[in-house]
């Protein structure tokens, strides 16, 4: 009986151990690795879905939030404390629909509100036209922009405190205007 209990206990313990390794050990190992990587200045970065962007000077790539794919993709740059994200995904609506969708995603976060009016925006080469606006969040502010390219939407969000955003705005605006759609093969 005691031997059976011991074997059963050891078996149960082994199951819990493996589950623990997967549920807690892997995330702990993930956290122990550096999640950022420097990106070359001035070189277009492939976001995915045929979209490229030139990162702001000194930006670091967040490897955990960057997933470039063939028909979609996402990238997160860390510009000091500012988070600058570009998300490309298939979309079959118009520009106002895409802006509407992005606004809904933003306000779906607790405490987030869209503020001010949207304005037109275009990229430096005049290829893409979009809409841009701002939002507020507890202790933070943010800006967003959305473009359409082919059958894809390109969503840009920037978040940080107001002073941080003001300081970094020229570099990030220039980066956003560098977005290019080269199409898909």
């Amino acid at each position: 009986m005691w031997r059976r209990l011991l074997r059963n206990g050891l078996g149960s313990g082994s199951i819990v151990l493996v589950l623990g390794l997967l549920a807690f050990g892997l995330p702990a190992f993930d956290r122990s690795l550096d999640s950022t990587q420097a990106v070359p200045a001035g070189v277009p970065y492939d976001v995915g879905g045929g979209v490229t962007v030139i990162p702001p000077p000194g930006a670091l790539l967040d490897l955990t939030q960057t997933r470039p794919g063939d028909d979609r993709g996402s990238v997160l740059f860390l510009v000091g404390p500012i988070r600058y994200a570009v998300v490309v995904q298939p979309f079959d609506g118009g520009l106002t629909d895409a802006a509407d969708k992005l606004r809904r995603k933003i306000v779906a976060n607790r405490g987030y509100q869209v503020v001010g009016r949207e304005a037109d925006i275009d990229t430096a080469n005049g290829e893409l036209r979009g809409l841009a606006g701002g939002y507020s969040a507890p202790g933070r502010g943010g800006r967003y922009a959305v473009f359409l390219a082919g059958e894809r939407s390109i969503e840009v969000t920037v978040s940080g405190t107001d002073p941080q955003l003001s300081a970094a705005r020229p570099a990030i605006d220039a980066s956003t205007r560098s977005i290019t759609f080269r199409g898909t093969e």
Partner: protein, 436 residues
Amino acid sequence: MSAIPGDGGNEVLPTPEGALSRGALLMPAFWVLTLLLAVGMVRMAVFLRESITVYPVATVVAVALFALYAVPFWIFVGGLDFMEREPPTLLVTAFAWGALVATAVAIPGSGALHNVLAKLISPEFATAWGAAIVGPTVEETVKVLGVFAIVLVAGAQVNSPLDGVVYGAMVGLGFQVAEDVVFAVNAVAVEGQGDRVSPVVITFFLRGFLAGLWSHTLFGALAGFGVGYLVVRTDRRLSWRIGVAALAFTGSWACHFLWNTPILLDGPVEGALGVLLILVVKGIPPLLLIAYVVRRAHEREAEYYVAQLARLNDPEIATEAELRALGSGTRRAAAREHAHGRAGMRGRHAVRKLQRAQAHLAVSLSRANGDGETAAVARFSREVRAQRARLVRLGHPEARAPEEKGGTVRSVFTLAGAAGIVMMVVWAAISALGGR
């Protein structure tokens, strides 16, 4: 412990009467399993509460659709072991492990492993190959642990490799349903158009029908076979059994890997035809492989139980033709169909009850283990004779399947026809979804 004909091994280890309840509460595994299920349930409840708060209609529709989707799978998997059905409590436990424990562990584990690939190799590699590597590695592991947990709690109930198949498939089914609900709700969130049902319906077709046949239920069945073999075939060397279990697990991993791999996604054929090609190349071979393994496990277990009845040498219990029919699901069904043709619905019903009683009797005989007429043996012998008398009254005394003429050719044509119909349905679904 008895040997099966032609094998000389322990294809089946008969379950002692009352084995499920005996001493289970004293076992640490019981309490560990209970605790893990409770934690998983809380996590799933939190997810569903948050989803219902934001997307009430879509969440309810997703849960309802995939719950309905699980019903035919449940009936099929639960009925795989005709001769000795598994206790419903354990089937529910296996399903709950997949739906609650496996998903609760797989979500953080998979996310972390994806990140590790992106950090150690590159985000491009993680995007392209992450699903193929992470999915099988984390998910197949947590699922097969569920079968081991069932073995620890009620080891006597896992008395043939086929039982491992049943529990493995049930864990996989639970995982598949829960994961699909999560995917459906996420699709609604990603679409960003509010509480809409269309992303749920698209997810239902994509993950339920296009990917559903060669998904977790199938992979879990293969890994479960390995656990069943490891536990039951004690006549073989431990190293051999571990090797078979490892091979089965590797097989489930490889099937899952093949399905998730990006190979062929950029193939030469585009649109609906391209998707169909992917399904045929990535889905059909694992489906056939695993179907073969399951069929062999089923046949070998059936041989064992049929031999129990054959040993009685009593045609009132089972004739030669009935013994032949009893060992195969197809022949059992043919015997019922034959009875329907000769004696109508009552004939079909009577044959079904006779086959059920014969199966119960065979299991009772195996559990009696040469102890003569136990209460269960006596009870099911009476039941068999009662059903036999009923069949005699109906003018159809023998529950045999008709002679098979050109059976193999007919089976091949039937299989090809079924495959053709499935392909047409899949084609229609792909076309309706725009070939995505």
